[in-house]
């Protein structure tokens, strides 16, 4: 069997890909010659056998020939490469260690660690490296030589037994995952080794090198005998770096020359729009949304305050260690500020299930797990959640490790806090007394205290006497679900309640009194009107901004291992700790707390955080990370394409004082980044995925950047930074599929409709369609890299969405208004320059002119439509009497906003 360097991913992927290729080749061949290529079985086998590898490029070059060669190669005995971690260990764990592991050692044999396994059991050595046929383990799996077949009663599949054969024949390497008897693991996996700053390699082409990134990239290219690509044109580079850093297109006429490029990067990194663009990438990871998720999917009116904090933090280049500390433990910082507590809104992004009838404790548990998983993915790049039910199948994380980590997040209380922005406190204090008087007045007029007192008493009684009066049981139960902390507030004597708590409970009482009274009696109270009055009062009150935060749960909470991950089953007690395979955590007290955890995450010894973070920055600039699996640095993740570069960047990140902008600057000013993105014929075979970085790549813009670009060039963009979420236009009926069609979307007024995409209200159950169409996921779990799909729904969206049509109108208006008495050519230059940072080619000019003439001709017969295309008045345009001219410019603008080049950063 042919085995090739694993340049393209694992064998299985190649197999799958080869299968598709073969299928297509068959079709091509069929179509061309009418002859059927009899190779379906071959292609099917490629797809199914994960241990086989096929080099696809060879295949492509000589289709017929290689198909033949492939068939032949199949007949040869296979010497497939077997990955211990990926293939053998999972089988051992799944089928063997239950009887031959820590708990039980049937016949004296243990198969959960290298040392013991090689030693064997009562029948002697089980594994003879290099000789499967002679190994007892293999014979047992086969059931040969009259031995009882293992595992008893459910033997492995033949392919699985073959995996063992191949592994033993190849030397039975236990790889780096050797586990010793006490369960600790040797951190041999590259990502678990400490970050060491590697020396910058020497290269021949020193003139190309702009900073050490380039030395690492070039050293590899020189080894491969590949030259880097030339620098992109000034226009392409300008548009690229603007879009990548700020998410907005360059100002028209912005000329970038090599001489002032570095200064431009500096300026862009200082732009307040930088934080908006890069907040999106962070918000994906921490699954930010403006609603709870699950059935009720209630709106979170204060969620934006956390987003505001993220944008601020990124803009001010808050060091990543502090960025980490504030989010993980801002509430524990001695003498902490409001902003530090706002940062703990990180935890509040978890979904909340307020569905009637849910068990509150079950979902509190789920929230704590979700927070554990998110920290694992975001900071460590590890799928720790795999260890919820059992030890991780691939990574050295035990179930106990998992619940130790979970323990950090198991005793959090959710709390909403006042988080005023500058200028808010004065009006608040001035209006508060008036607000209080008005509220008292409403309560008095509707006789609220008289009914609420006994209701409170009865609720407390019901809480202690469940099962007697069902409607009271239900009301008590849902109080906990619908109103955060509702039961605690109700138990607190009214005089001791915070004014907000009292208001929240009273408002809830007014709306829910109907649950325990007849319809007629409820009507008689007039509470429906009272609720309206209260809401009107609240809406008119200049309240301060609020934030969703957390604080330690006062009671503390003992954590346990939960067998099979079940919330209501507990096994041994565990204390907060970090995974044993990673460097140990230093504790400031008896048991480490979240502050210690935060320090540990960003300690120099932690091998993951810096690597994971620089890799995610890198992937936004190159489409793919140095580690392609940016969500997984575990054993199943892909190895880095440039390990030394990754480590150098990580070290540089740490040594710079965890300055994110320092990393951005290094990347954006490198020669590597500045290369042309035009695919090269000489690389198609050698490096189809551009892992060697001999060029840049063309990338479809992320959803927000696409919207923001179109808004910017159309002149509609409101560039205001920060603040609450906005709801731009969306067609009616989008929210119909929310639970009971209960989600309301009231369109924002004025220029708020034209704010940047990062501010669009994110309703989990019915996301804004444009964002969903362009791959913004539902923000239910941490998302480390966005997809870049290419679908017909996107085409419909950009062509027909009234929002985009309005942008086309805006762009036409802008071009006409800015160039009132200019020729078609000059206007077209302007439109191209706004959208693409370049002028049109001659053939593009011809195409657009052809369109303009024909479109006007179509509209000439239909003046009403022409006016619908361009419903504005523009002063000073000579052709204003002919509506088809302006309409034609709307048409051109619409085409420009749909051009592949506009949607793409090159």
């Amino acid at each position: 069997m042919i085995c090739f360097p694993n340049l393209f991913g694992d064998c299985r992927t190649i197999g799958r890909r080869a299968m598709r290729l073969l299928g297509l080749l068959q079709r091509r061949t069929r179509a061309a010659s009418g002859v059927r290529v009899p190779s379906i079985q071959v292609s099917a086998r490629i797809g199914l056998d994960r241990s086989q590898g096929v080099r696809e490029n060879t295949l492509m070059r000589r289709p017929a020939l290689v198909l033949g060669a492939l068939s032949v190669s199949w007949i040869c005995p296979a010497q497939a490469e077997v990955s211990f971690a990926e293939q053998v260990q999972p089988l051992l764990r799944q089928h063997c260690v239950i009887c031959h592991g820590e708990a039980l050692q049937q016949n004296g044999l243990r198969l959960d660690g290298s040392e013991a396994a090689m030693r064997g059991g009562n029948s002697g050595p089980a594994i003879e490296p290099g000789n499967a046929a002679g190994s007892l383990l293999f014979k047992r799996l086969q059931g040969s030589e009259g031995l009882q077949q293992m595992p008893p009663g459910r033997s492995l599949a033949p392919a699985e037994i073959e995996t063992f054969r191949a592994w033993i024949d190849a030397g039975a390497e236990w790889e780096a995952r050797s586990e010793t008897s006490d369960g600790t693991a040797d951190p041999g996996h590259w990502a678990f080794r400490p970050v060491r700053r590697p020396p910058v390699p020497a290269v021949v082409g020193t003139h190309w090198v702009r900073n050490p990134i380039d030395s690492f990239v070039l050293a590899r290219l020189e080894r491969e005998g590949i030259a880097p690509s030339p620098q992109a044109s000034d226009q392409v580079l300008a548009r690229r770096v603007f879009l990548d850093t700020t998410g907005l297109p360059p100002d028209p006429g912005q000329v970038v020359t090599t001489a002032d490029y570095d200064a431009l990067v500096d300026r862009l990194l200082e732009s307040e729009h930088f934080g908006e663009r890069w907040a999106s990438a962070w918000l994906d990871q921490v699954r930010y949304a403006d609603s709870d998720g699950y059935e009720k999917d209630s709106v979170r009116p204060h969620a934006w305050r956390y987003r505001h904090w993220v944008i601020d933090a990124i803009n001010s280049d808050m060091p990543f260690d502090r960025f980490t500390r504030d989010q993980i433990a801002g509430d524990l910082v001695p003498g902490g500020t409001t902003e530090e507590r706002v940062a703990t809104g990180f935890y509040r992004n978890t979904l909340k299930n307020r569905e009637g009838g849910v068990n509150v404790e079950e979902f509190r548990f789920e929230e704590a797990l979700d927070r554990t998983n998110t920290v694992g993915t975001v900071w460590l790049g590890l799928s720790v959640e795999c260890a919820r039910c059992h030890d991780h199948k691939y990574d050295p994380i035990t179930q106990k490790d998992y619940y130790r980590l979970f323990s950090f997040f198991n005793a959090l209380d959710e709390i909403d806090i006042d988080a005023p922005l500058p200028g808010e406190i004065g009006p608040f204090l001035r209006s508060k007394p008036h607000f209080d008087r008005k509220l008292e007045d409403i309560y008095a007029r509707y006789d609220v205290p008289r009914l609420m007192g006994p209701w409170t008493e009865k609720m407390l009684w019901a809480s202690e006497n469940p099962g007697v009066e069902h409607e009271w049981d239900t009301t008590w139960d849902i109080l906990a679900l619908y109103l955060d902390d509702g039961q605690r507030i109700l138990r607190t004597p009214p005089s001791e309640r915070d004014w907000r708590e009292d208001l929240a409970l009273t408002e809830w009482f007014l709306r829910n009194y109907s649950r325990v009274t007849s319809k007629e009696d409820y009507e008689a109270t007039g509470f429906k009107d009272a609720v309206k009055e209260v809401h009107t009062l609240i809406d008119g009150f200049p309240d301060v901004s609020r934030a969703r935060a957390i604080q330690p749960y006062a009671g503390g909470r003992q954590s346990h291992v939960h067998p099979d991950g079940k919330w209501d089953e507990t096994a041994e007690e565990v204390a907060s700790a970090t995974p044993a395979v990673l460097p140990s955590i230093e504790s400031s007290g008896a048991e480490p707390d979240r502050l210690d955890l935060a320090r540990w995450l960003v300690s120099r010894e932690n091998p993951l955080t810096a690597r994971v973070t620089v890799n995610r920055i890198w992937q936004e600039y190159f489409g793919t990370g140095l580690v392609a699996t940016s969500d997984n640095f575990g054993l199943r993740g892909e190895a880095p394409s440039h390990p030394e570069l990754l480590d150098w960047l990580a070290a540089e990140f740490i040594d710079s004082g965890w300055r994110m902008k320092h990393v951005h600057r290094l990347i954006a000013t490198s020669a590597t980044y500045r290369q042309s993105s035009v695919p090269r014929d000489d690389l198609r075979d050698r490096d189809p995925s551009n892992r060697l970085l001999a060029r840049q790549v063309r990338l479809r813009l992320p959803a927000e950047t696409l919207r923001d670009s179109a808004l910017a060039v159309s002149g509609l963009l409101d560039p205001k930074v920060g603040g609450p979420s906005v709801r731009p236009y969306q067609p009616e009926g989008v929210t119909d599929l929310s639970y009971g069609s209960s989600v309301k979307w009231s369109e924002s007024a004025g220029s708020d409709r034209y704010r940047r995409g990062v501010y669009i209200h994110f309703q989990r159950s019915t996301p804004y369609p444009f964002l969903a169409n362009f791959d913004l996921q539902e923000r239910n779990v941490a998302e480390c890299s966005r997809g870049r799909s290419n679908t017909p729904l996107q085409a419909l969206n950009l062509l027909n969405d009234p929002v985009f049509f309005e942008m086309a109108q805006g762009l036409a208006f802008r071009v006409l208004a800015e160039m009132p008495s200019q020729s078609f050519d000059r206007r077209l230059d302007r439109a191209f320059s706004l959208c693409l940072a370049r002028g049109p080619s001659e053939s593009e000019r011809g195409t657009m002119l052809d369109y303009f003439v024909r479109q006007r001709a179509l509209l000439e017969q239909d003046e009403e439509s022409a006016r619908a295309w361009f419903p504005f008045e523009t002063e000073g345009i000579p052709e204003r009497s002919d509506p088809t001219v302006a309409a034609g410019w709307v048409g051109i603008s619409r085409i420009l906003l749909n051009m592949d080049e506009f949607i793409t950063r090159e």
Partner: protein, 475 residues
């Protein structure tokens, strides 16, 4: 386009990863056509979009009855409850119940419904479903369904994605990922709604971590059937055509200069979008359906018009190659006033659903179309009184409930499994939702253990770590 460009399409991972849907197929077909190659009508793309073995069903229509219909009032007669009616059950009998709202001391509610033995098979079906009664010999009734979840969102998520937690791909997404689509002008996975959203919202048809190409596309009840399907106001079809033609010329230039196959794919998608603009309205135009067909679905009559329209649309979509159609009807969540609520929902859905099965059968399509009817769990045999003065309802019940399947290689006129005489739990041949999922995939030619997608280092599947094929369902 030259072969080099075409080839680079194939070698680009991001493209291939998304290639399993019909969209990918069409993109390739377009590229091949642009290359001067004639291709047969593309079916599933090679490789990803290919069944593991010969499928029994090519298409799935999932009549999703969100909110949990009451099995003992519709499908699973329990005369044994009469003896206990109005009484609480002894604590020993209720200890295994998972309840959302009521306490185990709630009183038993016997069904007021009458059941008849129907068809040759003698399957018992409630009098609230007179039309389904006539189709009894075509349906396979599972009376022993089980799930782990007792609340709607997690329950729906469990049924659709195999996990109670949001964020996993749903069945429709897995199927289009696994099989591709046969439609050249419609999405591979379409969602229709009666108007009221289900608890799961869009997570019922989400692509989760699969590429978003595989997400269900909602067809809307009002306005554009697909979002942004119609041209902006004032833009005629001729203008749209001209716009796209111009766009194609400009993009073609970019394709030549950049050699980036993603451009070719985008061009193909704009063409597909343009075709959808005429194909989708054509779907809604029932003028080529006979009056008797329309009448049989209850179209033009109330209260069946909306659901009947969706059911007929589902058949028309399947005819046009849409792989999975999901019809959401909400809500069956009758905590109060069960008998009236049930009647209302049955009156809306019974006739259209039965007509769909009959129509598919009569057209010879039932063999290859799998129809599934059911919700996320069932309801308790204990009654629920929620408000003062309420009429009685039932609470959530995950331990034993009913669903039915028809066509697509399932056994007609057959009952699978049973519950105990008080409807407390499935006792015979319990079918967990993971088992149902495994069986549905099996019927559609996919091995649920092999249909995987790697995410965060793990190969995920619809059935998580369990699921067995229920042989008793298979014809």
């Amino acid at each position: 386009m030259n072969f080099e460009t075409y080839r680079s399409v194939l070698t680009r991972r991001s493209f291939l990863d998304r290639c399993a849907a019909g969209i990918g197929t069409i993109g390739l077909a377009q590229l091949m056509a642009a290359d001067g190659l004639t291709v047969a009508t593309p079916t599933a793309p090679e490789g990803a979009g290919r069944p593991h073995f010969a499928p029994r069903a090519k298409n799935l229509i999932f009549l999703f009855m969100a909110g949990a219909p009451s099995q003992m009032d519709l499908f699973d007669p329990k005369p044994g409850l009469r003896r206990w009616h109005g009484e609480p059950l002894p604590p020993s009998m209720t200890s295994d119940l998972k309840l959302a709202f009521i306490k185990p001391t709630a009183k038993v509610l016997a069904s007021p419904r009458e059941f008849s033995r129907c068809g040759q098979s003698g399957m018992e079906i409630s009098d609230y479903l007179p039309n389904l009664q006539r189709q009894a010999d075509d349906i396979c009734m599972i009376r022993s369904m089980q799930t782990d979840q007792v609340n709607h969102h997690p329950g729906q998520s469990m049924l659709m994605s195999g996990s109670p937690l949001a964020g996993r791909p749903t069945m429709g997404a897995w199927l289009t990922y696994g099989l591709g689509s046969e439609s050249q002008s419609l999405p591979g996975f379409v969602v229709l709604s009666s108007g009221r959203g289900a608890s799961g919202g869009s997570s019922n048809f989400s692509s989760g971590f699969l590429p978003s190409t595989f997400a269900g596309v909602p067809f809307r009840g009002s306005g554009d059937p697909i979002l942004y399907l119609s041209n902006p106001s004032g833009v005629s079809r001729e203008s749209q055509r001209l716009t796209l033609e111009t766009l194609r010329r400009l993009n073609d230039e970019k394709l030549r200069d950049s050699g980036d196959a993603e451009v070719a794919s985008r061009m193909a998608n704009y063409e597909l979008a343009f075709r959808m603009q005429s194909a989708a309205p054509e779907l809604l135009d029932f003028s080529d359906e006979s009056k008797s067909t329309r009448d049989s679905y209850g179209i033009g009559q109330e209260p069946t018009n909306a659901y009947g329209t969706n059911c007929l649309m589902a058949r028309r979509m399947v005819e046009r190659g849409v792989r999975v159609v999901m019809l959401i009807h909400a809500s069956w969540d009758d905590h109060t006033n069960l008998d009236e609520g049930l009647k209302k929902n049955c009156d809306i859905t019974d006739k259209p659903a039965a007509a769909l099965v009959a129509d598919l059968k009569q057209r010879g399509m039932l063999d290859e179309t799998l129809v599934v009817w059911g919700g996320e769990f069932g309801r308790t045999s204990l009654g629920q009184l929620k408000h003062v003065g309420d009429k009685v309802g039932r609470d959530h019940h995950p331990n034993g409930f009913s669903m039915w399947l028809a066509g697509g290689g399932t056994k007609g006129g057959h009952v699978v499994g049973s519950t105990d005489e008080l409807a407390l739990k499935a006792v015979e041949n319990p079918v967990h939702v993971h088992d149902l999922q495994a069986t549905i995939l099996h019927l559609m030619g996919l091995d649920h253990e092999r249909l995987t997608y790697r995410h965060m280092g793990r190969d995920f599947r619809l059935t998580d770590v369990s699921g067995r094929i229920v042989d008793d369902i298979l014809a």
